[in-house]
Amino acid sequence: MKNNPVARKTSGVSKVLRIALYTVLLAMAFFYLMPLVIMLITSLKDSEEVRNGTLLSLPAYLHFDSWTKAWSGACTGSTCTGISPYFLNSFKIVIPAVAISTLLGAINGYVISLWKFRGSDLFFAALLLGCFIPFQVVLLPMAQTLGWLGIASSTTGLVFVHVVYGVAFTTLFFRNFYQSIPGELVKAARLDGAGFFTIFYRIILPVSTPIIVVTVIWQFTQIWNDFLFGVAFSGFDSQPVTVALNNLVNTSFGGKEYNVDMAAAIIAALPTIVVYVLAGKYFVRGLTAGAVKG
């Protein structure tokens, strides 16, 4: 009984605190959402409304013209094809690069964690550095190599580059995942006469689904969003969508069409946003993998 007034008082304080808490959280949600909402609003205005309205003024009715234009008519430099060919280029780069780097990563991780040999740990440590070097250090030598291989300025070249510098990450993912598989499992299978690939195919792969999903999503996002390799190694016809978007937005001649820019930006962001919305859990797991152990 004696405690009651005190309890009521603290609950009053905590109520105020809770309201403050929700206010901050909602304000932050607004901060994160606002740019996307404004992009969307802007892309649905006509150019008159863009020039005379403010960021938050709504369009009188919905114009999808800037979307069509961004997709198939907007000009970057002298060509007016919109960003659709480059959007397809991105897929041509992303799909093989993700598939190859994931496969390589899986088999590397399998070796490094379950078939250790002398030097394999050292190799893994050396490979880790590949996740972190500033790619500026390899840009010029890689440009020369691509020239020698005859795949400069092509989507094939970009696939190659993304596999080369993605495999460190994919190996890290799979290695960390396979670390938890008991070595006895492999030992027992070997005694039963199963070989290297049989064990991988029959025992390891079937339990790997979660880490495959994490790796595929991580690689997809990374490669889709890449700009540095795209701008350094692509030719005119093999530009990925990020490079095309940047060219479109920074084209200086002619009137600026912000609504078209915004539509193009949303189109370029759409694939990764869709993946994030559908498989956010795995995306987060990829982000935090390596950073938070266990």
Binding site: V111, L129, F135, I273
Partner: protein, 310 residues
């Protein structure tokens, strides 16, 4: 190590099939070989190659006439490079501090049994899924003085409102900070939230039973136990800052003039558009040095910690 001894043990028992077995012994190495070659050539080989180029007088094409430290001397006498380095200092420290502050705050707040936590988390983190080019494009539109936030505020009645950082050489670097924080702070939140959820519940209960307030519990018990998460976040954020290239390219294109250049943009411009390969390589090596200075101690402690756990 353990598997190694197992290998030699089984070899003895099944020495009859030695030919097949030696193939099986070699298989892991054969499989790992492509990645090994990639790592040796495309990571370490190229690193050395760039280092070599940075000591030559290469301009439009690589040449192998050595000039000692000349390129580094020219680099640090180059005004544009010094601007880029200063920008990295300002941008990097503000970006890291604000991201850490916001991220930790949001993680703790979300940890208070919040309704719709999942939805909020999704909203905070989605910018991380987007390309920096898209982020740059969006913020370029928001921050431009003629149509953006400045105009919005003036139209709302704040007639003297001024927000022209994007076109102001002294302030433009803060525009980079705003956009980069918008993109990456949710990531810090996710890291810390995962860390918070991993803290031993009994520890917290014990603290509460001892009469510690929620605030004290966080300050004295929970946050100190998240020190590893803190260091991971610190390393990842500084890594993002040093490598930042796309954001500058899309948001300011280095401008006005070269007021918002970062080292990565300097390197790209000098190597690929200004035909100064030697100096460009020197700047890349400086960037590598910065990253290694942060990374080597971190990886060393991580790997050592892992060994101790075993």
């Amino acid at each position: 190590m353990n598997t190694n001894t197992a290998n030699s043990g089984s070899k003895k028992t099944q020495s009859g099939r030695s030919a097949r077995f030696s193939l099986a012994d070699w298989m892991p190495k054969i499989v790992l070989a492509p990645t090994m070659i990639i790592a040796i050539v495309c990571i370490y080989g190229y690193m050395i190659w760039s280092a070599v180029l940075s000591f030559t007088n290469s301009r439009m094409l690589p040449s192998y006439k050595f000039v000692g430290w000349d390129q580094y001397e020219r680099l640090f006498n180059n005004d544009r490079w010094m601007v880029a380095l200063t920008n990295l200092g300002i941008f990097g420290s503000l970006f890291i501090l604000i991201c850490l502050f916001l991220g930790i705050m949001l993680a703790i707040f979300l940890d208070q049994k919040i309704r719709a936590e999942g939805a909020l988390r999704t909203i905070y983190l989605y910018p991380m899924a987007i390309s920096f080019i898209v982020t740059g494009t969006a913020w370029k539109w928001l921050l431009n003085p003629t149509n953006g936030i400045q105009k919005l505020m003036i139209d709302m009645g704040f007639e003297n409102f001024k927000f022209d950082w994007l076109t102001n050489p002294d302030m433009v670097v803060y525009c980079l900070v705003i956009a980069a924080v918008w993109q990456a702070s949710g990531f810090v939140m996710a890291l810390f939230l995962a860390g918070l959820r991993g803290v031993d519940g009994d520890l917290i209960k014990a603290a509460h039973l001892d009469g510690a307030s929620t605030f004290t519990t966080y300050r004295r018990i929970i946050l100190p136990s998240l020190k590893p998460v803190f260091f991971s976040a610190l390393v990842i954020l500084s890594h993002i800052a040093i490598k930042s290239f796309d954001l500058v390219q899309a948001l300011t294109n280095g401008g006005p003039g070269y007021a918002s250049d970062l080292p990565a943009n300097f390197m790209y411009t000098y190597t690929f558009t200004r035909s100064q390969i030697g100096m460009g390589s020197a700047s890349a090596m400086v960037m590598l040095g910065c990253i290694l200075a942060i990374l080597v101690p971190y990886l060393y402690s991580e790997l050592r910690g892992e060994k101790n756990e075993k």
